[in-house]
Symmetry: none
Subunit: 230 residues, 2 copies
DNA sequence: CGATACTGTGACAGTGGTGTGACAGTCGAG
DNA sequence: CTCGACTGTCACACCACTGTCACAGTATCG
């Protein structure tokens, strides 16, 4: 669930053919994939692996998709993941029931792979705000998260991976002051032992890159607190 | 966007009949409703009113729904709201384009009111938990805790860390008289050995900063007791 | 009025937070 | 392998900020 690894999608379906097909397509789209074959497995897998998105088939052995969804959404991990119900039923009352159970989205068979992937991305965007196709703008700075590109005033900039994530985090909430600890959490990952002063160094490098071709420093230092955009 | 008031839904459509219909149904469902008639209005309305959900028609004058969605999602307010694209086009490639622009959901005409409301609710569930930074105001003084910013009458002020915390504490409870000991506790920390007269010095510095560009002294000295805002 | 207690504030030295160049270690590409 | 890109740490310099003091100003009371 940190910004560094690929998003994890849990596929729940009882037909092996479906699992293989989906795994193949989602892997090709850059996601990590986990699978479960019935509702109980699904609930367990969510608790253990904390996926970012769950593709949940409506018809499942042992525990219906609807009930599985309810149980998933009853856990803290479940609330932090997006559940997409997959079903052959396209009647409206089912859609309504599905959404009111806590499902985040609903997709009906037959669906195209393109739409499925787009849906997964769209839901992912809410669960992991920055990591997926999103263009952030702040003043003359543009950051394309999907293409991994940054430009200032139209001219492209070269940033290392860490500086890129650092900029992305700060651009996501302009004005917000990030403590060094918060940035370590967000940019480096939750379980890392890193000197907080390292943040200073990377902020310095980011500043140098952003101001290489002139322009005001877009990063504000708040003494005793941390850093902020704008 | 606060927790106490009803969720705000922004309806964007150029047909007055649609606006009236949607407003009626959503109001009946317990939402607050705002409206916009074209894409530019929509982008503006999102920035100004910070709705929880936007119902965005695909076909709009001046700025297409797609482009409006992109611009909305490039702003911090936009990222904190759910955008539901509404369209007569049900072809798949449009859905994909819509979702990849940053839209959170997609609904096609004709839709039933029940499904629409269910979708709005489902999207709301994800958007609502996002809390917004606390902004304290007292007279013409504004203190943004998250951004660590203070302004008086619109002009930004520079405060040191201690003065900032001091002001924040006093603004949190306007009128309350703080003893020097209470302020030491609150601002400096519980187990500090500091001369109580130090509080006086910092209050003085805070006053100087607040009144640097004119204006009445917002801090009241209570002889024998301490200090208070207003 | 004088005495006393309390508060405002300029000055100042010390501290500690921050910017930054240097450097060694790691990793992947060629 | 070598090379280059990137990372994390350190040391040093700088200066904004801090806490304290001394003295001046002001309210309170006999």
């Amino acid at each position: 669930m940190t910004g560094t690894t690929a998003p994890l999608v849990l596929i729940v379906d009882d037909e092996p053919a479906q699992l293989t097909l989906l795994r193949h397509n989602l892997t090709a789209a850059g996601f990590r994939v986990a699978t479960a074959q019935d509702g109980e497995e699904a609930v367990l897998a969510v608790a253990e692996q904390g996926p970012d998105v769950v593709l949940l088939d409506w018809m499942l052995p042992r525990l219906s998709g609807l009930e599985a969804c309810r149980r998933i959404k009853a856990t803290p991990e479940g609330r932090a993941t997006a559940v997409i119900m997959v079903s052959a039923r396209s009647e409206e009352r089912d859609r309504v029931r599905g959404l009111d159970t806590g499902a985040d989205d609903y997709i009906t068979k037959p669906y195209s792979v393109a739409e499925l992937v787009a849906r997964v991305r769209a839901n992912l965007r809410r669960v992991r705000p920055v990591s997926v196709g999103q263009v952030l703008e702040h003043g003359d700075i543009r950051l394309d998260a999907e293409a991994h590109r940054v430009s200032r005033d139209g001219t492209p900039l070269h940033l290392g991976p860490t500086e890129f994530r650092l900029l992305a985090a700060m651009m996501e909430r302009p004005g917000k002051v990030w403590t060094r600890e918060a940035l370590l959490d967000r940019v480096w990952g939750r379980e890392v032992y890193i000197d907080t002063r390292t943040v200073d160094v990377h902020v310095g490098r980011l500043r140098k890159a952003l101001c290489a071709r002139g322009g005001a420093d877009p990063i504000r230092t708040v003494r005793g607190a941390g850093y902020a955009m704008g």
